[in-house]
Amino acid sequence: MEESKPRLLTVLDVFTVALFLIATYMVFFYAPQEAVMGDVQRVFYFHVATGWVGMLGFIGAAVAGIIYLIKKDRKWDIVGLAAVEIGIVFIFINIVTGAIWARPIWNTWWTWDPRLTTATVMLLIYLAYLMLRQGIEDPDRRARFGAVYAIVGSLSVPLTYFSARIFRTIHPIVIGSGDPSATGSFDMSPLMTQTFMFSLLTFTFIFIDLFWHRIRLGRKADHVEQLRLQTME
């Protein structure tokens, strides 16, 4: 079980930090100032990127859950938990950055728009997932319940989105075709698009890097738990 940190992971760490520094620089100095909204629009680059990572975590947890139930391999439970924990952090950053942007643009910190509602429900389901796991001692049962809940949650979230969407939305849809009348909508200039794409890439790397670290941590925690159970017997 004793394994040292893989070289590739160290390389990835350094690479990710470098990417993040460049992305931060691009957001503040490379991307032009948006004409109407001003500097607060710069939050958009990291806002969308963190939302993307949060969603990756959510999908990852559901997929890991399905594979776990089929294969019954503890490895996939560790993967699922790692995905949820990373997702929680990033969806939270996503919600906070969104609120910071919404205050001057929508004139409110919060509104019950479909995307905002969906992000919040996602966060609540993640939290419930962790609380469910906390309450169960037996590792196998904990893994099974976690997998089942991740699957149920991932099916419910799109339905929440669609049901909230039947109301009118004011959230701008910058990527893809959106309603141009949405408050705070804008067209991206080439420099903005480059910055945006770079942020997305950066946060994808951050996700991979953290995911790898968290899975390693999970494996070690698993090992410790097994040792503990052995000494208890």
Partner: protein
């Protein structure tokens, strides 16, 4: 040709036998819950009293004047909050009694398809919930002076309760096996069941308001889709929840 027909006949015969035994097992679970309830009347009475208390709390918390009381949005909202809270109470209890004296182990030892246990428990929970709802509706009508005798509203309540109980029974089966079982069920259930609540409240408001069917249909469709998806998922994963 005859052999082929015979074998397909035998297969369908076998399937019919399977379905019949599935329904029998399911019916037995439902019957067990109903007759236990008929003797103790613990669950229904607790849910009912709780529902009445929620009605009372809403009256004072919202300080409703006679005009707002009849507002369909308020009525639908308050009704669904009552159903959701009372339902949680019932779901928790119905699974806790199985866990407490090892009844669940007895059920699992029975040589039947485990999903029949799930559907039996879910159907029992649905019956309890509908009974509470049927009693609450006239009481609410009298107390708030609104007419709730509306066929559309009853359909919405049925569809909403099916979705609620389909997920609720599955999650309650997990929650009672956890250390924190008293507090866990609402935390697990509410975020997942949100689409049902949203659609049910909207459709109920629509029917009470006398809106056109065009406006209500999307919500009804959503309820039906939810009911189907989650009954199917619960059917598939219930085995993993009760497995030892």
């Amino acid at each position: 040709m005859t052999v082929e027909r015979e074998s397909s006949y035998l297969a369908s015969e076998k399937n019919a036998g399977k379905v019949a035994s599935f329904l029998r097992a399911m019916g037995a679970v439902v019957w067990k819950d109903l007759s236990a309830e008929l003797r103790s009347r613990e669950l229904i009475s607790a849910m009912l009293v709780f529902a009445l208390l929620v009605i009372m709390i809403f009256n004072f918390a919202l300080d409703l004047d006679p005009a707002t009381r009849r507002d369909p949005t308020i009525t639908a909202g308050v009704l669904w909050v009552i159903f959701v809270f009372a339902g949680t109470l019932g779901l928790n209890r119905s699974m806790a009694v199985e866990k407490d004296r090892g009844c669940m182990d007895g059920l699992l030892l029975a040589p039947v398809d485990r999903s029949s246990i799930y559907f039996g428990k879910a159907l029992g929970n649905l019956i309890f919930m509908l009974m509470v709802e049927i009693i609450v509706l006239p009481i609410y009508s009298v107390l708030y002076n609104v007419n709730l005798l509306n066929l559309g509203l009853l359909v919405v309540i049925l569809l909403g309760s099916i979705g609620y109980v389909a997920v609720g029974t599955l999650l309650a089966a997990m929650a009672v096996q956890a250390r924190t079982r008293d507090i866990l069920l609402p935390i697990l259930l509410f975020p997942v069941v949100l689409p049902v609540i949203l659609a049910a409240v909207k459709a109920s408001t629509g029917f009470l308001d006398g809106s056109e069917m065009e406006l209500i249909r999307p919500w009804l469709n959503l309820l039906i889709v939810y009911d189907i998806i989650f009954s199917a998922v619960a059917f598939m994963v219930f085995d993993y929840v009760v497995e030892e």
